[in-house]
Symmetry: C2
Subunit: 688 residues, 2 copies
């Protein structure tokens, strides 16, 4: 063994026993993968990983992702050993309420956790994003003799992650992009929850990754051949211009009486099993949560090496700052997450004399302006660039230089037709730091990325999804492409801002708030069809998430709408006026943001006194929070020219006015006071 | 050329010119792929496909799936030529409102369309399902000398579909299952919307499919070498025990001035381009929508051959009926979609003396009973069998017999960790006929399958998704696994029934209605934690989607809840009683079904007169349609023992009662009549 001693074997067995204890005390969790992966985890963390556990946010640290997040007992144990803020008590609180050691790793909860994993396939896709971010930041900031950004991204993955489509998407792209600093370890233990992989997963994984362009290495005896593990990791580090996957044969639950079987995957070991395991490893079976000093010593040394590496990096950065002061301050600004002074002045404003254009076009204008002032803005489309209009003039593609198609300094991504991979990669890019990523597709296909989008929100990552073709207004492509339920889904996700701007000023507002929201992802929905510029919109008003577009005293009805239906509703307001009906008009481009406004403001927008009718070319599901009656789609859209599709569903000024009249008549006849739906008995506000 | 004449080249060019005309007249659509794939489409439909265009539902027809559904001008043209109910006028109405030739192929809209495609990756995954269904039905019903079910499934796919994760999942499983009757043609034209595939898709597709266990064939000159195309298709047919993919090199938009470029992908050809194309092909450039008689002749001959094949099949079936009368009537019953007499008697009923168990366990009991009486019920889990509890005793796995793990007659699927592929495969199985498929995963990961789930609903396919671990009640796995927004999303999908049963009787009701709903998919959400059997539940009442569990005269408040929160709400009702507050309790296991009940019934369940408080451990988004005040999760769940998680969010009898008291006090203070939220001004009902 190259530099390994008996102490390393002790450390590995300590990790295994500790995993059994952690899961055993919680009486819940997954001991199998931690025990099987203990050797590679030990070699990686003690010999390879560059980290400073006292400054877990050092920008050039190596990133570690546990894609098989259910194995997080392993990760928490490593963080504890390596000196991160994870105490033995925290390990004892595994999977308990409000602990920092929850059932799956969560970004923001535990120091040293780089991304939120557990939902299978996400972690390895996030890792691709982390590696992209490293490659890009390195290309932008490194100079001759100053490899400021050159960290590796390591990721552990099991069979489960590799079966997931999202991982296939991300790994195919990683191969295309030749991400040399990305190193995956595949825990090839032949066991999934349903039993042997023979029941469902018999593909040749090595051949698949070769087909993606990865380097494939192989360690046959992953349970004990730590020299081979070390050699493979060294080889992987050396490989440039290709990501590497190490196929590591392990025994799930190594050491348990049930090792090698699926029973050991997701349930605590029995007490006598833990006893025999500790005996077998030479530990005192009466002791729990025991760590020999030799084990701590190894990790202390690793942590010291890492701290020293950061100190050296700081020296390097000091020299860099002297030689390249502008780049240094720019890097600092971006890593600290500060936006450039006055960037928001780049946001375009509009008046009614500006042309009616599709809001996707307005989005393009905005992106083009922002790309100039926000070098941290990077992104691209899932192969719909010409439809999403997300590529700014003179953008350079993010590509390996050998392709002749761009460079790693390029800021525009060609994600391919890989929506889920795209969103998960964007999560990784955002988690890296210094970058604001966006992805783009049709709104309807953001659904393909649902698994990653909810994790953007749970992980508090500023990721923008540009979602064009946002309704039946896309026309001829028809119901397969027309979102109906998508807005309801996105609005129901906590900490996610779904924007549907009605015009240019609202579009600027959507970007303004999305970029200012450092811990909230946004989905920005834009129309294919042309929309006029509204008279009373403004960035300031729209940035509140909702506001009054047309006010009138003693209104008979309030009409509330979003996006491309706002101008139709405005037409209805005018028609109603000619019939002597006084209608207010409210635009709510973003529920999530509107809901954060003061109660007073919200009630000024949607007051009691007159009934409120919502208009949106989606399912009306969820509008009950703002309106008494809801006009929308009862079912699916239709294929045809967009104006005819709107007409088919009567979502026209006439159709809206007709329904508003009905609402007015109904509530007049009822003859009772009308209260704003915003008023809730649960608000803790006793007066109205 | 083996049997080909000049007329075949004319037919191919006719298809190309017609595609240009169809897209040109609509001034919308995708001419590129139809023009590029015309040769293989012609060879397949004129020489290989076994179909009777006059009886498009013949069970043993070959299935054709256009996975690159945007190329549907091609499919509509083929259906027209082959004598399906697609007239020249229908081709002229391409992408127009209410035409049978919408922008993407829709099952149920056009004869001969087997599955709804367009959302990329779905079609090829559906095709895997169709091939599974064929293999299974064949294994169940074929006898020596009676190959009643032996059709092929052909699928065309472009680069886009193959980049999608869902396709990776389904194709990996197809290889594992050795589906010999599945034949894919990959239109390898090197062009996607973003340009050359070099920008994002440089993996070795052939090697990837080899890694999945597919046979890979190759046709270099797909634009004109129809003999090679024929040879490849013949070879593919011969291949047993492996699906085949034919890598067909083509030129997108072949014949156009812009051929080979991405401009020809998704926009109509210019007029002068169509003119030169027709000239080049020897057609009259003044004529549009022209089909030479020789072309019709070829397709008439193919249709006649197909009609003859069906006639022969009917003869064979007659003999089969004589020899195997029980099998024959069973096959007929299943193909006609009739359920066995009295099947519903198998559904278990419960009383309060039955044990409290997790509703996933109740689901297991129900599936086990139904598996006995419904041989058409097939399904499995995305590698969560032991958690979803979806495998009945003595179930046989659907596996290739060579594995020794099951047979094609097996009804239990091991989908692997492939949720999206699973749902898309289930769509294909349901579309085949004679089968009722289910998939299973945690509710949270149904989101991974969003792209396929919405298509189940749009396609009117009876697919069941068994979704266990349906809330924070799953406990320790934590917020990464706890659905919050998922119910809102599923409830907003038209024609999809999201069920969340509260006990055993409701569980039986959910299966009853799901199986009776021949044209509606269902998602059935079940708890991990134990739930008591309710006193006043019944299958009959729950089958209405919503009903009164506890009635009281002159109620002060109605509490409405679902699933595992119903017993907690019942506890609250009792606590309120002791405080002199009269509370009604309503259970709404399924919004979609409840909404189909009569207005009178719905208002009897959620009447005016007292305020209504909803309780559900999800986002409250969407409850406005049933309740005045809503108690649920404001954000994400938490990791911990489930009872402590509920306590953390105050979703307990005490917490519910406290809020109900607030609601009662609030509305008493307001002193105004309280109207049911079910009453809408847009209902066309003038009295209340």
């Amino acid at each position: 063994m190259s530099g390994f001693t008996q102490n390393d074997q002790v450390a590995i067995n300590t990790i295994r026993a500790l995993a059994a204890d952690v899961v055993g005390k919680a009486n819940s969790g997954h001991p199998g993968a931690p025990m099987g992966m203990a050797p590679v985890a030990h070699v990686l963390f003690s010999k390879f990983m560059r980290f400073n556990s006292k400054n877990p946010k050092w920008i050039n640290r190596d990133r570690f992702v546990l894609s098989n997040g259910h194995a997080c007992a392993l990760q928490y144990i490593l963080l504890h050993l390596a000196g991160y803020k994870v105490s033995m008590d925290d390990l004892k609180s595994f999977r308990q309420i409000d602990s920092i050691t929850p059932g799956h790793p969560e970004l923001g909860v535990t120091d040293g956790i780089e991304v939120t994993t557990g939902p299978l396939g996400q972690g390895i896709s996030n890792a691709v994003g982390l590696a992209i971010a490293q490659a890009h930041m390195g290309a932008v900031f490194n100079k001759d003799g100053f490899n400021l950004i050159d960290n590796y991204t390591y990721v552990f993955t099991g069979d489960g992650c590799l079966q997931e489509g999202v991982a296939s998407e991300a790994c195919s792209l990683a191969g295309h992009l030749k991400l040399g600093n990305l190193i995956a370890v595949y825990d090839d233990n032949k066991i999934t929850i349903d039993g042997d992989t023979a029941v469902s997963f018999t593909e040749d994984v090595e051949q698949r990754f070769k087909s993606y362009g990865w380097e494939v290495l192989h360690v046959e005896k992953g349970d004990d051949d730590i020299a081979a593990i070390e050699a493979a990791l060294k080889e992987a580090q050396k490989t440039k211009d290709q990501p590497t996957i190490i196929n590591l044969k392990t025994t799930i639950g190594f050491g348990s009486l049930k090792q090698g079987g699926h029973d050991v995957h997701g349930a605590p070991l029995k007490k006598d099993d833990i006893t025999q395991l500790k005996k077998k490893f030479g530990f005192n079976p009466e002791e729990t949560f025991a760590v020999p000093q030799e084990t701590y010593d190894i990790y202390n040394a690793a942590a010291e090496k890492g701290a020293k590496a950061e100190a050296e990096w700081k020296d390097l950065f000091k020299q860099y700052s002297e030689k390249y002061p502008k780049d240094a301050s720019e890097l600092t600004r971006r890593v600290e997450g500060r936006l450039p002074e006055g960037w928001e002045k780049a946001l375009p404003t509009y008046t009614t004399s500006d042309a009616a254009v599709g809001s996707r076009k307005l989005s393009e204008t905005t992106i083009s302006k922002l790309a100039e002032v926000l070098p941290e803005l990077v992104g691209g489309s899932a192969d719909l660039t010409g439809s999403n209009l997300t590529r700014w003039k003179n953008a350079e593609d993010f590509q390996h230089p050998s392709t002749g198609l761009g460079s790693y300094a390029g800021r525009y991504f060609r994600f391919g037709v890989r929506e889920h991979g795209m969103a998960a990669i964007c999560n990784g890019i955002a988690a890296y730091g210094g970058l604001i990523p966006f992805g783009a597709t049709f709104l309807n296909f953001v659904s393909y990325a649902a698994g990653a989008v909810r994790l953007s929100a749970l992980s508090h990552l500023r990721v923008l999804q540009i979602a064009t073709h946002d309704s039946i207004g896309l026309g001829e492509d028809g119901p397969t492409h027309q979102p109906v339920e998508t807005a309801a889904w996105l609005r129901a996700i906590p900490n996610l801002a779904f924007w549907r701007p009605a015009d240019g000023n609202e579009t600027s507002a959507s970007y303004l708030v999305s970029i200012l929201s450092q811990h909230t992802p946004s989905v920005l929905a834009f129309s294919r069809q042309n929309l006029p510029q509204l008279a009373n919109s403004s960035i300031e008003k729209a940035a509140k998430g909702g506001y009054v577009l047309e006010e009138v005293e003693n209104a008979d009805v309030t009409i509330v709408s979003t996006g491309s239906e706002v101008p139709l509703a405005l037409g209805a307001v005018e028609q109603l006026k000619s019939k002597g009906i006084k209608a207010r008009l409210v635009s709510i481009p973003c529920f999530e943001v509107f809901d954060t406004q003061s109660r007073e403001y919200r009630l000024s927008v949607l007051p009691s006194g007159a009934p409120i009718l919502s208009v949106e070319a989606y399912s009306t599901f969820g509008w009950g929070q703002y309106s008494h009656d809801h006009f929308g789609l009862k079912a699916w859209g239709a294929s045809g020219p967009y104006d005819q599709v709107y007409k088919k569903f009567d979502i026209t000024p006439e159709g809206i006015a007709k329904r508003a009249e009905k609402v007015v008549a109904f509530y007049k006849k009822r003859g009772q006071p009308v209260f704003s739906p915003l008023i809730s008995a649960l608000d803790d506000v006793s007066d109205e």
